[in-house]
Amino acid sequence: MLNYAWLILLFPLLGLLTNLILGRWLHDELIGWIASTAVFLSFLVAVGLFFALRSLPADGRQYQLLLWHWMRVDLFRADVKLLIDPLSVVMGLVVTGIGFLIHVYAIGYMKGDQRVQRFFVFMNFFILAMLTLVFANNFILLYVGWEGVGLASYLLIGFWFEKPSAAEAGKKAFLVNRVGDFGMALAIMWIFKLSGRVEFLDIAKNVQALAPEATAITLLLLLAVTGKSAQIPLYIWLPDAMEGPTPVSALIHAATMVTAGVYLIARTAAIFLLSPFTMTLVATIGVVTAFFAATMAMAQVDLKRILAYSTISQIGYMILGVGVGAFSAGIFHLVTHAFFKALLFLGAGAVMHAFHGELDIRKMGGLRHKMPQTFWTFAIAAAALAGLPPFAGFFSKDEILWSVWLHSPWMWALGLLTAFMTAYYSTRAVVVPFMGKPRDKHLYEHAHEVSAVMTVPLWLLAIGAAFSGLLGLPHISLIGHWLAPVFASLHMGGEAAGGSLEWIFMGLSTLVVLAGIGTAYYAYMVNTAFPQQFRRSLGFIDNLVQHKWYVDELYMAVIVHPLWDLGGWFADVFDRKVIDGAVNGLAWVTGEIGGGVRKLQTGLVGWYAFSLFLGAVLLLGYFMLIW
């Protein structure tokens, strides 16, 4: 089976090509099913890989499959080679499994759109790129996948490019990600320069070669992580990315692509562990992002934006987890989060579908009567997000917080505070749209439950959101054991289970979650004036939160505008105005040269020649001085 691992990449590629070439003549629904089938076949391959790997002894669960030689220069060997180990298989299962459900949902969701063919081609392309990223055995192939998912994300965010905001959002996402990719490219080169290797397993074996400059390298990698996984300081693109179709938000901007950063840290854990400074920074960024994004999620009124900030916040938790060395806890949260966040987005999409694109939760209310299935699945997902036991989020978040406690109490405290806020805003996201009385009669009248092709995926995801937490029960963590061989060679503290104290902590966080839920219920169901009063008491902080801490404005002022102006200066001022000035100054020279030629000259040529001459003088000066 392991030798057929390449099939997992082949199926999305086939789906993509089929729809690309034949899509013009196919019915929209058929296109959707072709794409979904392709992903489902990949899922079957992933399952097969899982069992094939499981049949091997625990310390031998590692298989590399060479497809073809790609780039070879001296020692530098980047091949198209897959790495199948527990970590990549877990990721592969998530990507293909949840990806499949979202594809099926999208068949219903995209019905009637003008560009269904393009949508599914892009979606399959995304799956292909994501699987490349996950199964790559070296940095270079990973980078290909990394850029590929970035491209897919850009194309899908701007899918409805008729809306200027969507086009802008796509561009923003791409550019912000380029900043991160820049770090990635440098890090890869640096790693290669020091170790002479680009394959993960080789690097891990000779990781000491990187030790002298590990901090710089990991900081560059961290830059890439913050870009892709939307962490401080590069998180700004993700909320805008909600301009894309909702299945895209669910698949790319919640369940899979944005967690690639977490995967990257886990995959290169050996390098990260060389630098305690970076690890601390990773954990700090994680917890601070989790906290800030949660504050912003509390203030949003757009359902998808609430979820977007919540995603940033939850990825913050994962980053926090891997930052304190609890790699399997981070991956565990990644898995559970993929289920419940995808479900939340799909639920939001169903609401949006029913409401003709309306997402302002202040206009909703009482929807549970109209859309009972959406309501129940959404509620399950929200409970998982809030971390209410026994839903999935509870176990994974708790495992992270427990590891954090052993590492740094203040981070744990901030994490716990964030857990409170998470419970608060998830409750709000359920209570305001679904319960109470309808706020906008007209919209409410038109709302209806969505079709089966959309509700079935919702329920399947709901099962995952409810029960996937059981994979990681404390002390008998299946996922922990499964992933253990990947991280076995690393020396880590923090993941050891800690007896009765851990149970006390679980109780504590349950209380915090209940408090959050209770507060939100009070604020939005019992005393609806409370949110207004509370916000007024916050003063300017409320203003800050409402404006997302003014980070976008800051970036525009500090980075974007200066660069733009500089480019404008070169193109306009230097190449035109300075030239004109110089030409006027040089007019007498051209005058001397002669009237006849002058008629033919536009004047600019004189300057061009002058520039050429100037360059020649500089070069002459340099060479004659240094010779």
Partner: protein, 480 residues
């Protein structure tokens, strides 16, 4: 008295000779033929025959014509690149030529003459031969630039190019004279051997030669002509010269510095690195705000000259082969990009504004996707050809302990993503203007075929760069 003729073997020069004969045939047949369409096909046949000849030539450091030229793998690699460029350029020009019926023969012949000059540049092992080749290539390009006689900008561009080109040639020739004065040699090996202990005269000679080369490949601050000329020239000519002249210029540039000046790398390495930084930064920043796509691509080509120069400035084997690889990759992606412009430009305008790109994806989805691939490749997005070009030259810089140079290059590619991406954004994500939809893209199978070839290579080189890199390595190996 008996006259002993020098033993002349023209066999290694056969590819060039084939092209020359084809060009002459085209000229003569053109004057008789009523149907001129197939002149392009005749030229293409000649190009293919020349290509086959190139392949069948034996590899080895063969010097011929009194050691004026070499038929080494390096020269053959450049031959191959130039022939590919020529073939695609002929196809790109096909439709435009059919609307300029009287002048087809001249256009095709000049293109072939210019290609002969380019190939000779790659083979030249003597500064005089380099100069002659440079002139053959340039003179043809001056005329081609002014070929769209109905447009004033075309004539203006030709005149500017000619005046400045002559100016730069003078610098180059002066440099040749000074080098001869200092070393007593014209041939590169001889110059190299006698370089030790030379004084200011040699230094001045090298500087002036560098001016000549820099002009030809458009390095800042010798690039001023590029935007005007690229914009004014017929687009098919722009496509040809943007890649062909650059490839040929760099070919001679590289050979000169690595053969004649191998010993004084410490002197010229930093100078080239500084030029590279200046060039790519200037090109990229100026490209950010352009309204004409051709002008944007002109500045972009300046930036790419800067990237390629990084390979030369690195001064190691990887840098050399990386540069050769870069020239090949750049040829395909830039020809493709200009090909799309030819597809989209309005008849007779000879230019394409950014705003005319708006929403073209709706009516021409395949064309827009093709353009996107070329733009991504130019921006250096893996796994396309352009990425590997940058990858190799920047890698060479790192290997040569010039990591800072690689970093500057990467920052520059990040900046360049903005304007390349803008093209795709406009094509895909903006509503079309009502008055820019009269684009006749249908019914041009020749042009579409040329685009397809470029596309296949841009993707193919990206997926299997190893094969091409191996060729580039073999080519560069003999230079040491």
């Amino acid at each position: 008295m008996t006259i002993t003729l020098p033993s002349i073997s023209l066999l290694p020069y056969l590819p060039e000779i084939v092209l020359l004969i084809t060009a002459l045939l085209v000229l003569v047949i053109d004057t008789f033929a009523g149907e001129k369409r197939w002149l392009v096909w005749l030229a293409l046949l000649g190009t293919i025959v020349a290509g086959v000849t190139t392949w069948s030539l034996s590899l080895g450091p063969t010097l011929y014509l009194q050691d004026m030229l070499a038929a080494d793998p390096y020269a053959l690699f450049i031959d191959m690149v130039v022939l590919i460029i020529t073939a695609i350029s002929l196809l790109l020009a096909y439709d435009w030529l059919n609307s300029h019926a009287h002048q087809q023969g001249e256009y095709v012949a000049l293109l072939l003459f210019s290609a002969v000059g380019m190939m000779t540049m790659g083979a030249a092992t003597n500064v005089i031969t380099i100069f002659v080749a440079l002139e053959i290539l340039s003179l043809s390009l001056y005329v081609l630039t002014g070929f769209a006689r109905e447009r004033l900008t075309s004539g203006e561009a030709a005149l500017k190019y000619f005046l400045l080109g002559a100016f730069a040639s003078a610098f180059f020739l002066y440099g040749v004279a000074l080098l001869y004065g200092a070393t007593g040699h014209f041939d590169l090996v001889g110059i190299g051997k006698n370089m030790a202990g030379t004084g200011l005269m040699a230094a001045a000679g090298v500087a002036l030669l560098l001016v000549g080369f820099s002009f030809k490949v458009a390095l800042a601050p010798f690039h001023m002509w590029t935007p005007d000329v690229y914009q004014g020239a017929p687009t098919s000519v722009t496509a040809f010269m943007s890649v062909g002249a650059k490839a040929a210029g760099f070919a001679a540039f590289l050979r000169f510095f690595h053969v004649a000046l191998a010993g004084s790398y410490a002197t010229w390495g930093p100078a080239l690195a500084a030029l590279a930084v200046l060039t790519m930064t200037w090109g990229n920043l100026a490209a950010l705000n352009q309204e004409s796509v051709k002008r944007m691509l002109a500045y972009s080509s300046i930036a790419h000259a800067g990237y390629a120069l990084v390979g030369l400035a690195a001064g190691n084997a990887l840098g050399m082969s990386g540069l050769l690889f870069y020239l090949l990759a750049y040829a395909f992606m830039n020809l493709g990009a200009f090909g799309v412009i030819i597809m989209l430009e309005k008849k007779g305008s000879g230019d394409l504004s950014m705003s005319a790109l708006r929403g073209t994806a709706r009516e021409h989805p395949l064309l827009a996707a093709t353009m996107a691939v070329f733009m991504f490749s130019l921006a250096g997005v893996p796994p396309l050809a352009g990425f590997f070009g940058k990858f190799y030259v920047f890698g060479a810089a790192v290997k040569a302990n010039m990591t800072w140079l690689a970093i500057v290059g990467i920052i520059n590619s990040a900046i360049s993503a903005y304007y390349y991406l803008r093209v795709s954004v406009l094509m895909y994500m903006v509503e079309p203007d009502e008055n820019t939809t009269d684009v006749a893209t249908n019914n041009r199978p020749v042009l579409a075929f040329a685009l397809l070839v470029a596309l296949v290579f841009v993707i193919g080189i990206g997926l299997w760069p190893g094969i091409w890199m191996q060729m580039a390595q073999q080519a560069a190996a003999l230079l040491g």
